[in-house]
């Protein structure tokens, strides 16, 4: 009942809350503080009393002990008198084990016996023995008036007597009571002052609030010029001021709103745009009178339903229009725009430009869509169709009808955006047909175009519906693969493509075989922008081509690094070729038995103006990768051939000139022609030179190598297999190769004649050469032991530092002259 009453009071009045809230908190705080403080003081007083009695009794125990042992009444009287000087001592007595008083501050008690239950009980309990660790202290009485304790005097494990002391607590109690009285008075006073203060504050507040409330009511009743009184306490004054600002703003907004509405109405009348407002939640729609008029109806003629619009849309346009709306609602477009035809009441078609915007609630749910219909019949009739065609042309490849570079780039950008948003991956394929140029060159562009169409069809078949297949130009195709879950999916597609394009193509009776090289770059692993992805896919494609075509490669960061480094070195090397920083050195090849010169190997040295002599180990592999090796080899061949011819003309015998031939050269169609031209230009006989091809390079594509090497061999040029033993030769191929000589790789020579394995390998190579009737030469021979071992085992042709390091032409000339003498 009271609870209910209090609760209703509490909820009704702010004033009540303030006074009672303040009062209760204040009361609790002050009472708690006072209680803690008083308890503390009380404890302190009581503890001080206890402390004093313990100290006094202990000193009495100590001073009286010897007299108790001697049962000496006179001595005991003296020690008891010593403690009687304490003001608050009521009595002190010493009792013997029989309960007999042997000393007492009131001497009349001496000789009497204790007769109260408490002490008798204590004495009986502590009679038998004494606990050394305990003074057997017992508090007989402890209240506000007195404190009375008894404790044992013990000696030789025996309680020989007891000290009993009583102190008057009166003074202490009085002090405590005084403190409590003052404490309560202070507490009451504080609470009273606090609550009075709260009362006044609350009264002032509620008065100001009532005044403000009145103003609000008046304003809401329509008194628009109501001004709240701001002459009150700061916070409420602020509130009143905010209220005044609010009414000002509301008044202004009301005016503005009216103007806007008028303006909008005028605008629609002027443009004759129809307005529609679709409540998606309730699926109702508002059409403005102008909208209806546009179709020849009056305001009452058409219902406010979606069907009013939908039924009048041209059947050919409806699907696109609905799709555009759906896409906009789904958030795929920034703005809904669609051009469609609406049926006029008179049966004609009205071209309308429909534009609108959707509104979402806080849960991203579409709740409303508003837009306009503009009659564009005049403008559209001629232009719309035209534009559509143009747009399509701009974005598609005329030959294959596939998206062109422009559209692909656009789709790629959109794809990346989507992948970013949905945290998915995508892959960009760069597909290049191998040797397409040859088809074009040999069979004409007509056939080439047919091939491209066929390739386009095949790729279309393989790719998924939502992948974008594009032709960038020439024989370059790209695929944008979206929603990629793992890189493996891209591999699968790449394999499918390779397989599909390997199928022969039949065009006008020509059976054509093509293959393709594919580079793949992944988002977001490799790059997160369209340009880079395309560039990286392109780079990976080149890698695939470089690795022998008809394969695919994923882009790797290493490719970029290597590519940029290669670019640098390539540029540097080109410069070196131009500026003749390259130089040909010659290393003699000697008959290890007779020590006669049998020939020399031409080796290139790069004398870099800044870096000095660059090791061939550094630049040759890069030159091979970049294809620059072709130029370098040609230059070396030309230079060395000229030099040899010159020496021979001078009457010197340089023996056979061994030249390195890069595989890249072999792949070139004009290779044999080139060599023939070179020899003819210099006036060099084919039997004067030998070409060295590394085993590894031959084995990369042995079939092709066999064809070309046969041509060279037929020219009468000696062929040697360089670095023999390092390239996993197949003996079958070795037998079919038109070669004359094997060159034992220096890695097997280095540890001769100590390493068992190398001994075995070099012996085996020599044995192999003998079995196939081939000549054999060892390179990298540095010591006499190595030379001797090789000669003893049947390899007498020796090249290496043991005889001479590679030397410039001038030095070689001197060497030759010495040999000739």
């Amino acid at each position: 009942m009271i609870n209910k009453h209090l609760s209703s009071l509490w909820n009704r009045s702010f004033k009540f809350q303030l006074i009672y809230g303040f009062g209760v908190i204040l009361t609790v705080l002050i009472v708690s503080f006072a209680y803690i403080n008083l308890s503390f003081q009380k404890d302190f007083f009581q503890q001080s009393g206890m402390k004093q009695i313990l100290n006094t009794s202990l000193s009495l125990v100590q001073t009286s002990k010897v007299w108790v042992m001697a049962n000496d009444y006179v001595g005991l009287e003296a020690v008891v008198n010593d403690v009687s000087m304490h003001d608050d001592l009521v009595f002190a007595t010493i009792i013997n084990p029989d309960g007999k008083i042997i000393a007492h501050t009131d001497t009349s008690y001496i000789g009497k016996y204790v007769a109260d239950a408490k002490r008798i009980k204590y004495l009986q309990e502590h009679q038998s023995s004494a606990d050394k660790n305990d003074d057997s202290i017992e508090i007989l009485l402890h209240n506000d008036k007195s404190i009375d304790i008894i404790r044992a005097i013990h000696e030789a494990d025996k309680n020989i007597g007891y000290v009993n002391i009583r102190l008057d607590q009166g003074l202490r109690t009085a002090a405590i009571e005084n403190t409590i009285t003052k404490g309560i008075a202070f507490t009451l006073l504080s609470i009273l002052i606090g609550i009075s203060f709260a009362y006044f504050v609350a009264n002032g507040l509620t008065k100001s609030l009532s005044s403000l409330m009145l103003s609000v009511r008046r304003y809401s009743d329509g008194k628009r010029d109501e001004v709240a009184n701001e002459d009150t306490v700061k916070e409420i004054a602020k509130l009143a001021s905010e209220f005044n600002n609010l009414t000002n703003n509301l008044n202004k907004a009301e005016e503005l709103n009216q103007k806007l509405t008028e303006r909008l109405e005028l605008a629609f009348i002027a443009t004759q745009d129809g307005l529609w407002d679709w409540d998606i939640v309730n699926d109702t729609i508002y059409y403005s009178p102008i909208w209806k008029k546009m179709l020849g109806y009056s305001d009452e003629d058409l219902s406010s339903e979606i069907s009013a619009w939908q039924e009048r849309v041209h059947p050919d346009d409806l699907e696109a229009a609905l799709k555009a709306i759906d896409e906009h609602i789904a958030g795929k477009t920034q703005e809904y725009t669609n051009i469609h035809r609406l049926r006029h009441k008179d049966g004609t078609w009205v071209w309308t430009l429909d534009r609108g915007k959707v509104l979402y609630d806080e849960n991203k749910k579409a709740i409303r869509m508003v837009g306009t219909h503009t009659d564009i019949t005049k403008e559209t009739n001629e232009r719309a169709a035209q534009q559509h065609t143009l747009e399509h042309q701009a974005h598609h490849d005329a030959l294959t009808k596939l998206p062109n570079r422009l559209l692909f780039h656009d789709r790629l950008i959109q794809g990346i955006e989507k992948a970013k948003r949905y945290k998915t991956h995508l892959a960009v394929f760069f597909i290049d047909l191998d040797r397409f140029k040859q088809i074009n060159d040999s069979l004409g562009h007509d056939v080439g175009d047919k091939v491209l169409e066929e390739v386009s069809d095949r790729l279309m078949e393989i790719t998924r519906q939502n992948d974008t297949l594009a032709r960038l130009g020439g024989d370059e195709f790209t695929i944008l693969m979206e929603d990629l879950h793992k890189a493996q999916d891209a591999s699968l597609l790449a394999e499918k493509i390779l397989k599909s394009l390997l199928e022969p193509i039949n065009i006008k009776g020509h059976i054509l075989y093509i293959s393709s090289s594919i580079g793949i770059a992944l988002y977001p692993e490799d790059a997160d922008d369209a340009m880079s992805l395309l560039k990286y896919a392109d780079a990976a494609m080149y890698k695939a081509k470089d690795e022998g075509r008809n394969k695919f490669e994923f882009y790797s960061a290493e490719m970029t690094r290597v590519a940029s480094k290669n670019l640098l070195i390539e540029a540097s090397l080109r410069e070196a070729l131009d500026k003749e920083q390259l130089e040909v050195y010659y290393q003699p090849q000697i008959d290890g038995v007779t020590d006669e010169l049998i020939g020399m190997e031409a080796l290139v040295r790069w004398n870099h103006p800044r870096d000095g002599l660059v090791s061939p180990g550094v630049f040759i592999p890069i030159a091979e990768e970049t294809g620059l090796i072709i130029l370098i080899d040609r230059w070396v061949m030309q230079t060395a051939i000229k030099q040899v011819v010159k020496w021979r003309k001078d009457g010197l015998n340089p023996g056979k000139l061994a030249l390195n031939l890069a595989m890249k050269q072999l792949q070139s169609k004009q290779c044999t022609q080139l060599i023939t031209d070179m020899l003819e230009d210099a006036g060099c006989k084919p039997e004067w030179i030998a070409l060295e091809v590394t085993e590894g390079q031959i084995m990369k594509n042995p079939e092709q190598a066999i064809v070309i090497l046969k041509e060279i061999s037929q020219m009468g040029i000696e062929l040697a297999v360089d670095d023999f033993g390092t390239g996993y030769s197949s003996l079958t191929y070795l037998k079919r190769l038109p070669i004359d000589k094997l060159k034992i790789d220096q890695s097997f020579v280095r540890d001769l004649p100590f390493d068992e394995e190398d001994i075995g390998i070099s012996r085996a190579i020599i044995a192999l050469s003998q079995a196939l009737y081939l000549d054999v030469i060892a390179e990298g021979v540095e010591t006499k032991e190595q030379r001797d071992f090789l000669v003893e085992n049947g390899c007498r042709n020796i090249q290496g530092y043991f005889y001479s390091k590679p030397i410039p032409a001038l030095e070689m000339e001197i060497f030759l002259k010495e040999k000739n003498i």
Binding site: V31, V66, A70, N71, Y109, D144, D148
Partner: protein
């Protein structure tokens, strides 16, 4: 109305506050006394030992024996009591306050004429003798070498430590009253230190304190030697007031004379530097009576001063 509720609230708090502060237990107790003992299990017999140690040491040494006896007595118990000095002891003994007592031989003899019966004594009579110490470098060979010199004693009435050595010197040709300067220095240790410091030519004491001194100050004892030993007299006696029931006395006798037969008893005796207690009777102390008589007659009067230490 609001104020009314508030007042009630405040009142409740104040009441709570005052309760909190005056919550001490409201108990009461006043001591009561009677003229007769209210509780007493056993008949208590007071056992007074003469002040041969200070009270603390006395309790340390003799309380175990009293406990041992009490553990074996039925219906009665002994209570050990010390005394502040010989005067206090003598007063209690000769006024018949103690039921049992352990007086020195002189007091034993006196007590036998004041209502006490001699029933036993400490054994080891050979310890109850006087010894005379000199510095090892003093050059004193004969008792007569002490003539004209100073001799230190603990107290004039100590039987073993003073009177017996004086009798010894008397018998060896010195007139105690004229030939030497008697210096009563108050304690056994003081007497020994006097001769070490050269303040006296000889020091008079008896075996137990000398043995203790050797243990405590071996470096000093090293420079002092026992020059002469007196003959011995019966050791401290055990007396009982004549009104103590015969069966109690008999029980106490039985326990105390068989102390040395148990391990526990032996430990108690060793604290007293004693081998055992033994039976004695009035005639056992005739030799003491004779010594005192001759000493008074031939050396000096005893009565007049307190008969204090040995």
């Amino acid at each position: 109305m609001n104020l009314y509720i508030m007042k009630i609230f405040v009142l409740v708090l104040v009441v709570m506050l005052s309760f909190g502060c005056s919550s001490s237990e409201e108990n009461s107790y006043e001591p009561l006394y009677s003229n007769a003992p209210i509780f007493m299990k056993n008949k208590v017999y007071i056992f007074g030992v003469h002040p041969l140690h200070n009270p603390n040491r006395l309790f340390e040494v003799y309380q175990p024996m009293v406990d041992y006896i009490n553990a074996r007595l039925k219906g009665s118990e002994l209570r050990l009591e010390a005394s502040r000095n010989y005067a206090a002891y003598d007063e209690k003994l000769f006024s018949g306050y103690f039921h049992f007592s352990l007086p020195n031989p002189y007091q034993t003899v006196t007590a036998s004429s004041k209502g006490y019966k001699i029933f036993g004594k400490m054994a080891d009579d050979e310890n109850f003798r006087g010894i005379i110490l000199v510095r090892k470098d003093s050059g004193i060979e004969k008792v007569t070498d002490l003539r004209g010199k100073s001799v230190s004693y603990p107290a004039p009435t100590a039987l073993a430590a003073t009177m017996m050595p004086q009798w010894f010197m008397h018998e060896h040709g010195l007139n105690i009253n004229t030939d030497v300067k008697n210096s009563y220095v108050g304690s056994q240790e003081s007497s020994i230190l006097n001769v070490f410091l050269g303040k006296s030519a000889a020091a008079s004491t008896w075996p137990p304190p000398w043995r203790a001194f050797i243990k405590e100050r071996p470096e000093i004892a090293e420079q002092v030697e026992i020059k002469w030993e007196t003959s011995h007299l019966p050791n401290n006696g055990l007396v009982v007031r004549e009104d103590v029931p015969a069966d109690v006395v008999e029980s106490v006798c039985k326990i105390i004379f068989s102390l040395h037969e148990s391990k526990e008893g032996k430990a108690i005796l060793s604290k007293m530097e004693l081998s055992k207690y033994e039976k004695a009777e009035d005639a056992t102390y005739d030799s003491v009576r004779l010594f005192l008589k001759r000493f008074e007659k031939e050396v000096r009067p005893i009565r007049g001063g307190d008969l204090n230490d040995k």
